[in-house]
Symmetry: C2
């Protein structure tokens, strides 16, 4: 059943049945394949939806609970979505929970279009491009994207075999970067690295057995950083193509760093080098 009611002078709708077609559609977006097919994804929680609104993402639908409206922040978010033309559907707590990824959802979930970026959107700016090779953990991927944006990277190319960045866990870890930070999915990284080299990019691969410690590596701009899978690192083919394989030194007894953390250390070495190049040289 869909009931209509008026709030803040606008018509809203209320869903009470768990088998409502909009809800059923939303639930299909928990699957990566369906997200790709539809070009849509689920955005859960106040903070992420606020980031979506701020980034001018045209959120298609929001499902929210009465409880959300007891807080000014929740009310403002619903008003803002309504003003921008989102379909606003009030649902009972249980229905929202049935759609949520987290155990204690914050009372709002939206359906948003997957942002579309042109390849050229990524080939600008001074920061290191991020090339992600088969990273499997969504938290790691989200953290990498958040950090790359913070480090001034122009965007990330994600390989075939990298986890879907529109996965709920990846979204949470990205802390909203997903709405602003240009991405290209399902990339053939060896072909990309070859092309980047042709147009003058210097490519560095993160590699525990790398030949040069990162602080002694050449970070000249424009550059790209390749980071690899949590267990296997960067693929052999990419290591061979890269201009340099850089390592982060580890104390004896420690086998590796967390993949997102290693990416962050290298991305920020790039930030530090640009600062030095801009302020002390030339």
């Amino acid at each position: 059943m869909t009931a209509r009611f008026v709030k803040w002078g606008v018509i809203m709708k209320k869903i009470t049945s768990r088998t409502n077609p909009r809800l059923k559609y939303a639930r299909t977006l928990h699957r990566s394949r369906q997200r790709k097919k539809e070009g849509k994804f689920l955005v859960e929680g106040v903070r992420l939806l606020e980031e979506a609104v701020e980034s001018e993402n045209s959120i298609e639908t929001i499902f929210f609970t009465k409880r959300l409206l007891t807080k000014a922040r929740g009310q403002n978010l619903v008003k803002e979505c309504r003003r921008r033309g989102s379909e606003c559907l009030l649902v009972p707590e249980g229905v929202l929970t049935s759609l949520a990824d987290t155990d204690s959802p914050q009372g709002i979930i939206g359906i948003a279009p997957i942002p579309l970026w042109e390849r050229n959107d990524l080939l600008t700016g001074p920061g290191l491009l991020l090339l992600v090779d088969r990273v499997r953990d969504p938290g790691n991927l989200g953290t990498m994207l958040r950090t790359a944006e913070a480090a001034g990277s122009a965007g990330a190319f994600l390989s075939v075999g990298t986890v879907d960045p529109y996965n709920a866990k990846a979204l949470r870890a990205s802390m909203g970067s997903i709405f602003r930070f240009p991405l290209q999915l399902d990339c053939n990284l060896p072909a990309l690295v070859a092309e980047l080299k042709k147009i003058g990019y210097r490519t560095l691969a993160a590699d525990a057995d790398g030949e040069v410690t990162y602080w002694e590596a050449d970070f000249s701009s424009p550059g790209a950083l390749i980071v690899g899978n949590e267990a296997w690192g960067v693929a052999r083919e990419l290591l061979d193509l890269a201009d340099a394989r850089v390592k982060i030194p580890l104390s004896p007894g420690v086998e590796s760093l967390n993949a997102a953390l290693a990416a962050g250390i290298l991305l920020y070495e790039g930030v530090r080098r640009r600062f030095i190049a801009e302020n002390y040289q030339g």
Copy 2:
């Protein structure tokens, strides 16, 4: 019921009841308060237990399944635990799952004593000491400990209000560092910072509003790094006590970095500076 049987020439026991007292005891160790009272914690999975064995932790008891023994790595682990005097209890899959934190446990869970460190164990070595102020996310804490060990830190002091590092998620994120890396729990950090300053430590606090960008800060040794809560950062009192408040620059639009990632960037700046000090100066 506890049945005895002989395998590899040694007596082992088999538990079939979920209400067996050893199992009931083990289950109580899911609670932080109980871990503290007993000085014991649960170690789940092959990898973490291997790290425990390598670090000479005297694992008291292991619960394992038949399935584990189908793999050479699992068999070797059980043999090694037996050789070192652990009580080895074969349990049905369902019983192991009832004790596990993860949804698909790897067939083995141990009870290990919480390592005890002296305060002085932490006041050695050239790396930055890590002072953790009220970090709430166990994954972040575990990653911080793993990274601090990798960066040559001598140990970490955890404030009152920091999540328990013997929590299952923190243990997984620590990747075994928990068995090697000296810790002091429930610390009064303001008192500690005052003492460290007296004995010549330079204390840096990670602070988004810090007065100096980290690559321009003084990292002279011996030093300590204070990192704070995911949402609120380092407590005001500690910021005021620190010798310097250092910031990591962020691109416009990005509010913050992941707490463990920020800690890692600063810890590795310390590594880089020590390398420079040792190789290019003096």
